[in-house]
């Protein structure tokens, strides 16, 4: 035990957190704008992964090119994000004036449907397409060999997405319109913002992020039925702990959970899977609105 072990746990935790953040980001982003907790986000993760795997098999089979491999990931995620993201917007449209809980249940119904659609398209046997991940090489730190893909690539992508998204929201027209709709839909509409289109755009962005998480995970994990269900409840843990709609908060909480999890693999292996939910429970009991939510003033 000692500094070395702690550092190793930190490194492991960061690479796991990167993936977790990407998926949770999509979820929290959608909630922040459209006020819907999208249970079908797990399906987006799964579909993103399968789709990237299929693309990889389709045009990168046998080849070791990293570019083709990256192309498969981006395309896989993009296709899923656009199709399913838009599909979900359309599905939720008739329910837009209803209770948020009702909308959540609609997304739950969508999740159930998508679980079976996933099996219909890709079957029940596991997909494992590792290909060019190996081409990225390995690095040795503190006597332990890490895959560059997990060590540098995924966390970098997560960070890049975070920076890009924040920039987009603050500095682009569409981004600021999204923020406007987030703060007050009615006023934004009165000012000429097409709230419906903004909602669709948000959904597509959020869905693509979820799918990207799945696509990035696909080379190193095996894709099987049920992978979406596990991921969704884990993302809920991140999102609820950070505060619904908090993007920066989600990054920090994902890191917290990732590091807590890998620390427990090192010191208390039996608690590895309990960690995320323990943290979620503890935070929600003390601060139910999440760690980073700024208290809203009540309107009378």
């Amino acid at each position: 035990m000692g500094i070395d072990t702690l550092l190793l746990a930190l490194i492991d935790g960061v690479s796991y957190a990167g993936l977790l953040f990407l998926v949770a980001l999509g979820l929290t982003f959608i909630f922040g704008v459209v006020r819907v907790l999208n249970v079908a986000h797990g399906s987006l993760y799964a579909f993103g992964g399968y789709s990237a795997a299929s693309m990889g098999i389709w045009f990168a089979q046998g080849s070791d090119s990293i570019t083709l491999f990256l192309l498969a990931i981006v395309l896989g995620a993009g296709v899923v994000g656009v199709i399913l993201g838009y599909g979900l917007t359309v599905l939720l449209h008739p329910f837009r004036d209803r209770d948020p809980i009702i909308q959540l249940l609609v997304t739950f119904g969508a999740f159930m449907v998508l679980e079976d659609v996933q099996v219909m398209i890709w079957g029940t046997q596991p997909y494992f397409v590792s290909g060019a991940v190996f081409q990225m090489g390995t690095s040795e730190l503190l006597g332990v060999v890490f895959m560059n893909y997990q060590l540098w690539f995924i966390p970098s992508v997560a960070l890049a997405v975070y920076v890009l998204l924040s920039w987009f929201l603050k500095h682009s027209l569409k981004g600021r319109q999204i923020i406007a709709v987030t703060h007050d839909r009615e006023v934004a509409t009165a000012l000429g913002v097409n709230a419906g289109r903004i909602a669709s755009l948000t959904f597509i962005i959020g869905a693509t992020l979820g799918a990207l998480g799945g696509a990035l995970a696909s080379p190193t994990t095996s894709l099987v039925p049920g992978v979406g269900a596990d991921m969704i409840v884990l993302s809920f843990a991140v999102v609820a702990t950070a505060g619904l709609g908090q993007i920066s908060g989600a990054l920090i909480v994902a890191l917290m959970i990732g590091i807590a999890r890998s620390l427990s693999v090192y010191f208390l292996p039996q608690f590895e899977v309990v960690m995320p939910y323990l943290i979620m429970m503890a935070v929600l009991l003390i601060r139910p609105q999440g760690l980073f939510t700024v208290a809203e003033t009540r309107r009378i």
Partner: protein, 314 residues
């Protein structure tokens, strides 16, 4: 009253007759009644406008209590086990409810989810104590002091559950019509006004929560007894979601709706593998969305007496 007793009697005899003719119908029937009872617990909370995404944990707690007790006391009667399991779930619900009733809406749902996942993951990981993901066996106990073979055992469970269902439907309906039940419904519409009337919303919700935990516990104990096995999957968030699904499908208008919903759910699951090529989730998912759209009050809203009142769109 008489009409209702008549309906109850007809249903009772129909179910018994069916299960005598087709013995394999018994277990899905029992499962439907079990889930109906658990979903009834969720309906109680739905009345107050709150949805819990973790209530399957009370089924889990009760089931494992039954498993532990039947291991520790091999001769224990099934009814004693059920009472014990329900009791443990009730007490747990009472304790957890003490701080859960401070939350509303999405936070209430999320916190229940968090606690249920903590319980789920702990039960899954502690293989030495709980049998991990393989679960724990529950050998067939005597019922009311009588030892039975498989057929008799299933038949008795079915009869008990049917009687219980009928009793519970009547009691919960009475509860909804009582002042406590009506007051609980106002937690959904305007909690502040309730407080001004001098009624503690928290206490009401706590009572409702404890009741819902007990109902899920009751269901969980029978689940364990009929399966002969309890696994952590019984408390996974998907199971909680299915309970919410059933409660929405059945509607909070009449307590009987949720049993019809559970029956539908169970049989779609059983027949999907033979008829729909296994795509039961697709069928149920689509029907959930359809019901929410067309019949937001659930199936039982179809039977609601049409009252001439002014509807105010909120």
């Amino acid at each position: 009253m008489k009409k209702r007793l008549l309906i109850a009697g007809i249903v009772f005899i129909a179910v018994l007759g069916l299960s005598a003719e087709l013995p394999w119908v018994r277990v899905p029937m029992i499962m439907a009644l079990v889930y109906g009872t658990a979903a009834l617990g969720v309906v109680v909370l739905l009345r107050a406008g709150q949805i819990s995404f973790g209530h399957a944990m009370y089924m889990l707690i009760s089931g494992y209590t039954v498993a532990f007790l039947s291991q520790a006391y091999p001769g224990a009667d099934g009814i004693v086990l059920v009472l014990a399991g329900t009791g443990v779930s009730l007490v747990t619900g009472m304790i957890l409810g003490l701080f859960l009733v401070r939350y509303r809406g999405i936070f209430f749902g999320m916190l229940n989810l968090a606690i249920s996942m903590v319980i789920f993951t702990i039960v899954t990981k502690f293989y030495g104590l709980t049998g991990g993901s393989d679960g724990m066996r529950i050998p067939r106990p005597s019922l009311f002091g009588i030892d039975m073979d498989r057929a008799g055992y299933e038949a008795t469970l079915l009869v008990i559950l049917l009687v219980l269902a009928i009793v519970l439907i009547f009691s919960v309906q009475q509860f909804f019509r009582s002042s406590a039940g009506q007051a609980m419904a106002s937690i959904k519409t305007n909690e502040d006004r309730l407080e001004y009337l001098g009624v503690s919303a928290k206490k009401l919700l706590w009572q409702g929560y404890a009741l819902s935990a007990a109902l899920c516990g009751l269901a969980g104990a029978f689940y364990g007894l009929s399966q002969g096995l309890v696994t952590p999957e019984a408390g996974y968030w998907l199971k909680s979601g299915e309970l919410v699904f059933m409660s929405i499908l059945g509607g909070s208008v009449h307590a009987a709706g949720v049993f019809v919903a559970a029956l539908l759910f169970e049989f779609v699951k059983v027949y999907a593998s033979t008829l729909m090529g296994g795509a039961w989730q697709l069928v149920l998912g689509v029907s959930l969305i359809a019901i929410i759209y067309f019949l937001p009050g659930g199936i039982t809203s179809l039977f609601r007496k049409k009252r001439k009142t002014l509807e105010v769109r909120s």
